[in-house]
Symmetry: C2
Subunit: 334 residues, 2 copies
């Protein structure tokens, strides 16, 4: 991957680096020759696992701790060139059950982290992972960055606050921040056992076990799913472009995919690729999820193409095949 | 005031009730015959003062405490019909100096308060005071509720999160919430000594002392200022309309004024009315304020007119006269 080779010799901090996206980023950076520090609180239900880090990569130093813990963070930030700030609570449903915990993680800890960074390492480039959840129910498709942000659940409200902080630390304080709004990401290292991480890990796990895949409602809600290598590439490109001054501090940029599929299509494709004889069935929406559902979504990533020269490379079917292959070789995830 | 008479006999909780807007609300409700409970943390620099409560109103019970304190809040919520949730940190500048404190007050405490309410008194009507600051720099004037929310400072980010919580507790949990986005409010009981409460108290205090009024930049930034009695009326109308089911839970509604004046016009009018020989001068923007300035603003209040049958009644010049008269009679505010 040409992009990540440019991080060779640099020092990178990956927050949430034992989780799905974070561990892929950390492993890729270390493989490319970067000195990688990982900070992860290993919060129950978040899907982080030390086994996600490739043990052959001695260039990765793992520290367990919270991004809101000044002392740990200040030591880890010392001399850092790039921060990939990926830590967060990601479950929409869980945020409705325990909203205060979600706010402490996604709002307060993010702000404490940025304050530590402003004080100790203000020259670092910071790439933050935001989410399409900040938009709420789309008023038009595909959704571009000018679309109003009216989140439908507490997680969306809190992630938006965290994203806004990154924007302001860019525009007001001149920190080299950029936030990427991700859609549904899938691929290796995603926990298939924890609940609340979205429909894709549930589909993949059940399909591999030959179980019924349940799709809510009529299954016609659209999604553009992103394969993890495309996201890692985007995070890398965003960091380099901000570092080079080609992207203004504080920018917010969508990722997305040309392939926009219905949940039913996604489920059927996963079932076909898994080949374990599972089936797909539409069931009524559970009430607690219907109330926070955003309907169909697809993201306009023209800005990512323009500013980062990024396009998604992996077709959904290919990504599913690679993902299934990974889990077959690493059955402890199931 | 016909609107507030409809609260006679009801039990109302006013958070931030020792502050400027809160104390006016509490005094007006008690005068109209409501049983009023006031909760106020009297946080330094926030302008709250026990002397703001009319001592002749024995129907007001004042409790000092934080809206995030479960125990105090649960006791105060017991049997409450209406909540006017006005508490908050309001200084934009202060939020940039100590963003974590602003987030603890305007985000975490708001969420804790709503959780207490959902658990203990979910039938209460909740009117929340939000701010035009959530919009950021206007993309068009006047700004309506569909305008994107891109706040320019930490206070705007945090107030937006608090507003979003109120919206979700309405749309998802069915709590009868409504948020009003206020512009610059002025009138009796506003602290003139504390800094960071906006330009109007500064202008009023300096004009009454015959001092120079400093306007930043060219002074052409527009503002629609709201006199406190118009705001009290809107808060009351919003509560009654939500209670009656005429406004959907979770609505967000602008207040605004037909009179849109430049800061220079506002300063000159205040000077003329004060009659103490003070003068107005334009000075360059202080750098730390220029970076968070939103430019000109005026709010489209057509939705408030339609849903609440509300219109501003007090002309700016009349409001300034009444305000100056109040401070002349209560010189300890100066």
């Amino acid at each position: 991957m040409g992009t990540l080779n440019q991080f060779a010799g640099s020092t990178c901090l990956v927050t949430g680096g034992l989780g799905f996206i974070g561990s892929n980023m950390a492993n890729s950076l270390a493989t490319a020759g970067a000195h990688v520090r990982v900070l992860d609180a290993l919060i129950e239900q978040h899907g982080g696992d030390e086994r996600n880090i490739n043990p052959s990569l001695s260039a990765i130093r793992v520290v367990k701790g919270n991004i809101g813990d000044d002392e740990i963070v200040e030591e880890l930030l010392d001399g850092v060139d790039f921060v990939f700030n990926i830590a967060g609570q990601v479950s929409h449903h869980e945020s409705m059950v325990d909203p205060i915990r979600d706010a402490e993680i996604n709002v307060l800890s993010q702000l404490r982290f940025l304050e530590s960074l402003r004080r100790c390492q203000p020259s670092a480039v910071v790439v933050h992972t935001s989410t399409r959840q900040v938009y709420g129910t789309p008023q038009y498709l595909p959704v571009d960055e000018k679309h109003p942000t009216v989140p439908r659940d507490i997680n969306g409200v809190n992630k938006l606050a965290g994203e806004n902080y990154h924007r302001l630390y860019g525009t007001v304080h001149g920190i080299k921040t950029v936030s990427l709004r991700l859609s549904n990401v899938f691929g290796p290292n995603q926990s298939l056992q924890k609940t609340g991480l979205g429909f894709l890990p549930v589909f993949l796990a059940r399909a591999m076990k030959g179980l019924l895949l349940e799709v809510f409602g009529d299954g016609q809600q659209l999604r553009d799913c992103l394969y993890i290598t495309d996201v890692v590439e985007a995070l890398g490109k965003a960091a380099l472009q901000v570092a080079a001054g080609a992207v203004n501090p504080g920018e917010v940029i969508n990722l997305g995919h040309t392939e926009v599929l219905s949940l039913l299509q996604i489920a059927e494709l996963v079932v076909a690729k898994a080949g374990e004889g599972s089936t797909v069935s539409c069931i009524p929406w559970p009430e607690e999820l219907a109330r926070i559902d955003i309907g169909g979504f697809s993201g306009d990533y023209a800005k990512a193409h323009r500013l980062l020269n990024w396009n998604p490379q992996v077709a959904f079917a290919d990504g599913v095949e690679q993902t299934l292959d990974f889990y077959r070789r690493h059955p402890w995830y199931l």
